[in-house]
């Protein structure tokens, strides 16, 4: 008590002279591993209570099919169901049915997928869900009518037709077998909508909420918060556990931390920096749980390959070789949200290359001193000396700023001078698209460990456009390799093909290269139970499994 009081007086004094709040506690913060982070086996979920969580941006649209941001998924997913979903107890790659009745039946040629639909699902307006609704939903995603946008339609290019032979059956016919189709059906964006509503107005769901999810709509105050309450007719009996939830929009990171610290909010699902974690674990030693995990997100260094000398693969390879990812990952992980070294697939994920293999790829060697010498030779071979360029970045501190400072320092080792040019997101994107840059720091984030998703950026610019392929190159060979792995339905063979692509695209050609993979840190009030961090911040956001302990 005295210590606490003394600390408080210290705070008062320090603030009185207009200085920062200077904590007197010495030593590094303890990094406790999730006490009761998820509902342990045998623990009975408690019913009731309100979950209050933070969402760091406002949703541009209510329509999950059109959205590309977590800002839609986090507050709005509780109103909806999916056809298939990630198992909340795993949240990495175990796919389970949601409104589907069991896993799909797949024909031997792998071209016909038959899905049974549950018969006990009702919409919030009382109408019964049938296969027509699911068909209308997927028609909207796969072949949107004019005036409706579906940014992920390309992921369903294999779909030939969707039919509903009867009220409880849905059939997907594919043009060719594809390994990623089940994951595509479990996409967290694919909210199940009502066929009747869509028929009346194809844009209904942009501004209205009407789903089959565990919560029903209460209110939405623009820029402030979303509220929902328990759906008593939810098709999974006994769920949701919560009475209600509030999703509060807070964009300022300092205010987010203080909201958790003052226990005004319980959790922010996207994650915090190591410093925010340490601040919270000091302030709330007994009330905080922490989960951490490698994230399906990574920064890429992209090149304007239409410009000299970045059209020369030796120059690009020299730039990736200079980077000591192993030491950098360790140092950067202390101050920002990156940690593990990996290739094009998430480290520790199902497609990750073993470290021993990875280390053979240029840029991933443990012997950085030698790599630096080799890189210098490469630059000399390419006839490039005193290379100087602008390094194009966006004005978001976490993790772009520290990652960029790190890279600029690494490149100094091979005599390369990179000038950091930072723009706010819209201008930054426009410059990347319009080739108004030399070298840039980009990123990619997905909801699933799936080569089709993570390799989408690497397809030739003539096919996918500059919004995906920010290095602006065309490489027929690589395109063929990417198609081959996508059509390969044998998991082990597919993994070999993906590793081949990694060696070629980021090692040999170095069209673009990953820096250090992101690492998600989730400190939250330990009374929140039933959330498992998994591999991403998009899936299992329907809150059906979350409960609040006493």
């Amino acid at each position: 008590m005295v210590a606490v009081l003394r600390t408080r007086i210290a705070y008062l004094l320090v603030l009185a002279v207009l200085l920062a709040a200077c904590t007197t506690q010495p030593g590094p913060a303890a990094s406790p591993t999730s006490p009761g982070a998820t509902s342990a086996v045998g623990e009975t979920p408690k019913v009731g209570g309100e979950l209050i969580y933070i969402v760091s941006a406002e949703a541009p649209t209510f329509d999950g099919h059109q959205s590309t941001t977590f800002a839609t998924l986090m507050p709005i997913s509780p109103f909806y169901s999916l056809l298939y979903r990630l198992d909340p107890a795993d949240n990495v790659n175990k796919i389970i049915p949601d409104v589907a009745d069991g896993m799909p039946q797949i024909s031997t040629d792998k071209l016909t997928w038959t899905v049974k639909i549950r018969t006990d699902v009702t919409f919030h307006d009382g109408t019964k869900l049938t296969s027509e609704d699911v068909k209308a939903t997927y028609d909207k995603i796969v072949k949107p009518s004019t005036g409706v946008t579906s940014p992920r339609a390309a992921a369903y290019a294999a779909v030939e037709s969707i039919t509903a032979p009867d009220a409880t059956t849905l059939v997907f016919k594919l043009k060719y077998a594809t390994a990623s189709f089940l994951a595509s059906l479990a996409s967290p964006w694919n909210y199940i909508y009502s066929a009747a509503k869509l028929k009346a107005d194809p844009k209904f769901y942009e501004k209205n909420i009407m789903g089959t999810g565990p919560f029903t709509y209460v209110e939405y105050q623009r820029g402030s918060h979303w509220a929902g309450k328990k759906n008593p007719n939810y098709f999974i009996k006994g769920k949701p556990y919560l009475d209600s939830y509030k999703a509060i929009i807070i964009s300022d990171p300092a205010r987010q931390t203080s909201a958790i610290q003052s226990q005004q909010a319980m959790i922010e699902f996207r994650g915090f920096t190591p410093q925010q974690r340490d601040t919270l674990s000091r302030a709330l030693p007994n009330d905080l749980a922490i989960q951490e995990s490698p994230w399906v997100c990574v920064n890429y260094v992209v090149f304007n390959t239409t410009k000299k000398p970045f059209d020369d693969e030796r120059v690009r390879r020299a730039l990736t070789m200079a980077v000591d990812r192993w030491a950098g990952g360790e140092a950067l992980s202390r101050q920002t949200i990156v940690k593990d070294v990996g290739g094009l697939m998430r480290p520790k994920g199902p497609f990750a290359m073993p470290d021993a293999e990875l280390e053979k790829i240029p840029g991933f060697s443990r012997d950085n001193a030698k790599a630096v010498e080799d890189a210098k030779k490469l630059l000399a071979d390419a006839g490039v000396s005193n290379l100087a360029f602008n390094f194009h970045n966006r004005n978001i501190p976490t993790p772009y700023e520290p990652v960029a400072i790190f890279l600029i320092n690494e490149w100094k080792k091979i005599g390369v001078t990179a000038t950091h040019t930072v723009k706010e997101t819209a201008a930054y994107q426009a410059d990347l698209r319009n080739k108004a840059f030399d070298v840039g720091l980009s990123f990619n984030c997905d909801f699933f460990d799936e080569p089709d998703l993570q390799l989408a950026k690497f397809v030739s610019v003539s096919k996918v456009g500059a919004a995906f392929n920010e290095s602006h190159y065309n490489d027929e060979k690589l395109d063929e390799m990417i198609v081959a792995q996508s059509r390969e339905t044998d998991p082990a063979k597919r993994k070999t093909l993906v590793a081949e692509i990694e060696r070629y695209a980021m090692g040999e050609k170095a069209w673009m290269f990953p820096v250090i993979w992101w690492y998600r840190i989730l400190p939250y009030l330990s009374k929140v139970r039933g959330y498992r961090i998994g591999s991403n911040h998009y899936t299992t956001m329907d809150m059906a499994n979350i409960w609040i302990a006493d």
Partner: protein
């Protein structure tokens, strides 16, 4: 007088038209595209999706057509729909306008309550340590970055009282405690800075009046000093103080950006930062016009006030 008022009101029109046009030009010159942003939040969207959506929003039309549309819409007070959320701009602004106005008014009240007594005391005790302390205090308000002050305030509340201002806005007539509990802190942070300007103005204005003959006369009559100051000096020095407080109000209203960000107040300042970042042209245009209108209008009212309060000023 009527002619003057009408003349002044008419003068506001070219200013506002200029502001509107300048906003239009600036926003189109700045690179970036709302559609690309909207569909590339996490990952990317194919170019044809972006092109189609741009066409739907009319962003591919010639600039002069877009400009004409905007200008004629403005004359009908119709600002269109937000490109980001597709909501009417009026609806986006509606709920937030009240919050920012209330915050600005509370800040103005705090500033006045601080500035008038402090300014008078500083003037009366000119060049003594009291004067110095007050001046240092008020200049401190000008010197401290307001975002910094705001962050320190929240940190202080959280660490010492384990409490932070409410996150959700409640109208004052519904829940006065929650309303003030949320807005009083940002109002203090900006009010302090705001008071610095007003304190200095009060001080110099009172100093000036204290040198006037009628104050000397009042003193010579043997009136008590407090009476002299309150009845003669203060009253006659109020005009410039009111001016500066009103003008600062206009600045303040457009300058709540960082404070709203730090305190998570759902006002116009936060909205304009997002709108500019999203390249949401209609919303930015409407917001800039609102800020400009408040500014121009307050200036106009101040000029009129001069006429009412100071009989020496005649409008011709």
């Amino acid at each position: 007088m009527t002619a003057y008022v009408i003349g002044r009101l008419l003068l506001m029109i070219p200013t506002l038209l200029g502001v509107a046009s300048l906003t239009f030009v600036i926003m189109r010159v700045v690179p970036g595209d709302v559609v690309a942003l909207r569909y590339s939040q996490s990952g990317s969207a194919p170019q044809e999706v972006i092109d189609r959506e741009r066409a739907l929003l009319g962003l591919d039309r010639p600039l002069h057509e877009q400009y004409l549309d905007f200008m004629t819409g403005m004359l009908r007070l119709d600002f269109g729909r937000s490109l980001w959320t597709d909501q009417p701009v009026a609806a986006e602004i509606g709920s937030r306008l009240g919050i920012s106005l209330e915050l600005a008014v509370i800040a103005a009240l705090i500033a006045t309550a601080l500035a008038v007594p402090l300014g008078v005391i500083a003037a009366v005790k000119q060049d003594t340590w009291v004067d110095y302390v007050i001046r240092v205090f008020s200049i401190g308000g000008l010197a401290m970055p307001s975002f910094w002050l705001g962050i320190m305030m929240i940190l202080f509340l959280v660490v010492v009282f384990r409490w932070a201002p409410p996150l959700i806005f409640r109208p004052i007539w519904e829940d006065p405690a929650a309303n003030l509990g949320q807005l009083i802190w940002p109002a203090l942070a900006v009010g302090y800075r705001y008071s610095a300007v007003a304190t200095r103005m009060t001080r110099s204005s009172v100093l000036e009046v204290l040198r006037e003959d009628y104050v000397r006369t009042a003193r010579a009559k043997g009136l008590r000093e407090t009476l002299v100051i309150v009845r003669h000096a203060l009253r006659n020095s109020l005009l410039p103080v009111i001016t500066v407080i009103s003008l600062e109000f206009a600045f303040l209203f457009g300058g709540l950006v960082v404070t709203e960000q730090v305190f998570n107040v759902n006002g116009l300042g936060k909205l304009i930062v997002d709108a500019v970042a999203h390249r949401d042209y209609p919303l930015v245009q409407a917001l800039v016009l609102i800020f400009a209108f408040v500014f121009v209008f307050v200036n106009f009212v101040v000029d009129l006030l001069y006429g009412v309060l100071d009989p020496r000023i005649r409008y011709t």
